[in-house]
Symmetry: C5
Subunit: 306 residues, 5 copies
């Protein structure tokens, strides 16, 4: 694997990491059709945990099979595949070395009332399964946020020492935040920044709206005239909040929307300097051919061709 | 022990496990009268913990003796015997090597108010007692569910590293779920799927009813026209939810019912592609000869003879 | 030390234990005047923790001195002496090898409001002090019961690996149980059974009354016509609940009562097949000569002489 | 260091301890002007933690300097100096070997609402700082009491294995106890007894009043006619509650009172057979010369000269 | 690096520390324009965690980049740079050896409701990143204060053993304290003293006001006529509360205020004998040239030139 100059530049920002971790970041950055471009499209399949199997896979029953997702990610030329323990265990051997995997090590479910997640896999699991990274969700704004941060702190230290990369899903949620606030501009940038401060290599947040949640923050956004009018502007502000672009940040596809809406959003991510998309339900809930077509378009958008 | 093609096919789905764990799965799958067929009947005796000795054993006092259950399981030609620490300790030496044992490592009791269980045995206990697997109950829907998931995650990692198999009893329960919801189709499939995601090798759930608990799920079942009209159809959906049949799933006998009702249920499990039954009270609360007769019928049903 | 056939038969029921643990059980079973008979009388002195020094020892001030209890147990020809850390430390060297000791490793006190106990000694303490066993109290029915079970599970694993025996005091208590229920027949049998399931070698419960606490259990006792009319019958049911007599079960002396009442109770224990008594306050709160006389009578009852 | 017969007799009561711990107890018992007499005066300086620096040291500003207390204890010929981590670290090297030190390993403060303490130092800290003992406070009667007992149990095991002595401050406090009850005769004796049962080598309690807190205890004190009329009688009862005098027990100076009141109290401690005083505020809040004079008087009282 | 007599005198107060820790203290004390003088100016950048990226960096967008702060601290000739994990990781290699770094190992955020912080880095992180010290915040007065103290106790032991220095941010906060009380004279001195007792090498508090919070303390301040009229007098009292000046104490810049107000405050710190300032927002929220000018003035004040 020969890395591109673009990728080497990105890797140089991870100046404190050991060669093992950098190699795993490189594997993800060099994988698939966007390999070498500094852009990423990741397939995450944790919906089964979050919403149950029928809500996740019934629209496209082939997706009940764990191999389906490996194959889809490989065929579509994506950058990595992220899933909980059981899903990775069920395909890690068959697809060994064919696509970087991210082991999602904590998970929630829609039968739970607590705004928390259970740790459901370990760094050792990631190593024995040949994963390139661990993925962990934090809920800033939840009363469990401190605990979740302490959990990923400990797991991240262990992962980095073992040469793995660390991906943090930073999803604001909890009693201190309104529903609109969960995707507010100030909160999203804050969530991304905290993930960076926690030492994440790759940060995942939702695309922000132009809403501002916190009064103190609002004053600053207005006083400093921070541009948050367009999606591209908002993405740019998130990128800035990730150490001025020195950390990779990718955006979830969010709730199902029309394809045109999705493509527009992705153009905003691209134009704002975001590193890419991590897009689950929109992918595996479509028939395979439709999904491949959609992913092809996404990739072409990141390639600047659409 | 020579494994059958059917068993080797099942084992091949556990592609990330070490040979030790596969050997223990093979021991269970090759044991008894259903050995080699891919079908299982397991005898679980944790009722003493759950309901106390008199409610469990007074109807058939011979069952107060731990040896009784080993002997019954062996004579009936069952696949494995599952019980808490004390019960296994009391017979592990006498019956060493005669039937695979599953050490139930957590337990509740009817004097407890919390929807939780106590960890009552360890992986080391399973190893020193020559068990083939550990068994663990989770209560999805309980406020303790995250903790229980974290407990089995840790024990499962340890068990797998030691070459043991992991059986998860996934029993929805708790404030977030109605009484009917505990056996609802959507909840049961969800519970089975979460056990699979947690890395279980064998999943135990209750046979589902046609009730649908969660509004969001109900919409999907209706929209996607998921067939849940018959027991066989519902079992098929559970099997699908277990990685499209790539994980072994067995069903409890549920509350005492007439034998005919039980046999019909088991035919549904068989016809829906379930891997078998795990049946306690219905077994050891009958006189020995009756129990053997009933188990013979169950086995014959799985053999397609009744 | 040559063991009797009776003792070897009892030891054979502990089929999963290592020779170290069996040797310690043998030491207790071969000690004193009941040595070799399969019967036991144990002196427990944890009243100081439970009720304070004056309530425990003022009636017989010689008992303030830890040596007093060692000497009394030895002179009376008892089977073992059980006490908290400080009491054992204060005499372990002087009386080394003269009587088996049981280190009580958790303790409550009457200044506490929580239905829990503090862990106040360790397996390592038991080893350095030359004890034969650890003793641990669980409160089935308390909201702390699961935690207490997890504590003894962990300590029992450690103790067994180190060749020690495990004694569980199973005392139902808590919001889920009425005051009468604490000594109810169904609850007592349940408590004894749970201790057996937790892997106890010796189980300590209170002598049960004919009261039945739980509705579901009551139905079974009535339907199955379980005989609980006399103390002997109730003891027999407890013994049955301890793996059909495969685990040693001893009974506390309970609240102070007349000597005749005590002797009758002990005859009931003997006639019901119980293994013996563990009797504290009734012993050390009497003047030494009276206590020795009472213990002599107890032993003679177990010998079938009174 | 040649020990006296008196000291050897005291040490012989610690029959289960290793030579390292006995040597440290001997260092304390042989130190200063009371060395060899079996009596002790210890200087504790944890007031800064408990009440803040100004309330502790402003009356005698020289006491802001940690060296002041080492020097005072040495010059006064005291038995040991007890303080939290920072205070010991600030003088351990300068005064190495000049006076035994007791590292207070947990601490509360008057900004806290919980009836608990924070662990603020470790056994390793005690070892690296050359201390002879660790000191730990428990609050019997607090809902945190079980936790505190478990903390000192663990630390005491570690300390004893490392040849250190263990001092327990047993201060009843909490919702289960009235304000008067904190120094009640029954509670104080109970608190001292629990410290002994927890394995303390040296027990620190407050001098008790004649008040009786618990109804059940009161009955016993009255029935058994326990003499608690004078301070000497009350001390005698506490000493008895410390394993009939087999454990060293020292008494705090309590709230500031007139010197005559203090001296009378100390005569009571002496006459009741207490082992000595542990006296902080009364010492370091006075000008140095006054403090030395007061300590001289205390020592002379214990020597039987006043 | 040759240390000055002033620095050697300061180091001599840390008499229990190992050469590794003293060397790291020396590195900080000898760094920059105040090197060797015993005075310090530290740049802390934890505002991103505390208030989010926009509120922290939008006024001076260059500050979004982690390298900016390293460069500013180096160019201004400061003593050390303190920041959370991600910020240090992003520059540790580029600026290795150019300025001592303090890894802030716990952090709060303004989306949290609990008066606690999450542990967000470890001693091992500090070592692998070449830091000279760890920094930790405690909230005396919070119900989490005991836990926070136990966390820093454990980390401090580990840090000291590894030759690192320990900096404690002692910020009173919580239900037991009024808003004014957070900077009250008595509370501030108490907070500083507790940090010293916990074993901190460098203590950070806010400059105190003349307000007195606690009734008992107020009596003493009035009775002992403690001078708290001027900032210099109040600083002097804080210094005294830090073991009579034997521990380094630095003061935060507090809320944004006019430059003249800030300079006056710093003169008070200098005149009262404080060791220096730790000043964040006031620094990095100004344009670079303004910040450098301001820091130049601060340094000149500490040099006695302004």
């Amino acid at each position: 694997m020969k890395t591109t100059q673009k990728v080497r530049k990105i890797l140089s920002c991870y100046e404190s990491d050991n060669p093992g971790t950098k190699a795993n970041l490189a594997r993800i950055l060099m994988q698939g059709r966007l390999g070498g471009s500094g852009k990423l499209v990741i397939l995450p399949v944790d919906q089964g945990f979050e919403h149950g199997p029928a809500r996740s896979f019934a629209p496209n029953p082939a997706a009940y099979d764990p191999h389906y997702h490996f194959e889809l990610a490989i065929e579509a030329g994506l950058s990595a595949y992220a899933a909980p323990l059981g899903m990775i265990e069920a395909g890690a051997d068959t697809f060994a070395g064919q696509i970087p995997t991210i082991l999602k090590v904590n998970s929630s479910n829609s039968l739970a009332r607590l705004k928390d997640q259970a740790i459901t896999a370990s760094v050792n699991d990631a190593l024995r399964l040949g994963c390139s990274a661990i993925g962990f969700t934090i809920y800033p704004g939840s009363d469990y946020a401190f605990e979740m941060m302490e959990e990923i702190r400990e797991m991240a230290e262990e992962a980095k020492a073992a040469g793995l990369a660390v991906v943090i899903w930073s999803y604001p949620r909890g009693d201190a935040i309104s529903k609109d606030g969960e995707t507010a501009m100030d909160i999203c940038a804050y969530a991304a920044h905290m993930a960076a401060l926690l030492g994440a290599h790759i940060i995942k947040v939702k695309p922000p709206t132009a809403f501002l949640e916190q009064g103190e923050a609002k004053k600053v956004y207005e006083k400093e005239k921070i541009d948050i009018a367009t999606m591209a502007a908002r993405i740019r502000h998130v990128v800035q909040s990730c150490f001025n672009g020195k950390r990779i940040v990718v955006f979830s596809g969010g709730a199902a929307k029309g394809l045109d809406g999705l493509y527009d959003e992705v153009r905003g991510i691209r134009d704002g300097g975001g590193n890419g998309s991590i897009i689950g339900r929109n992918t595996f809930q479509r028939p395979r051919e439709e999904a491949l077509k959609m992913l092809d378009t996404l990739i072409r958008i990141y390639q600047g061709k659409e």
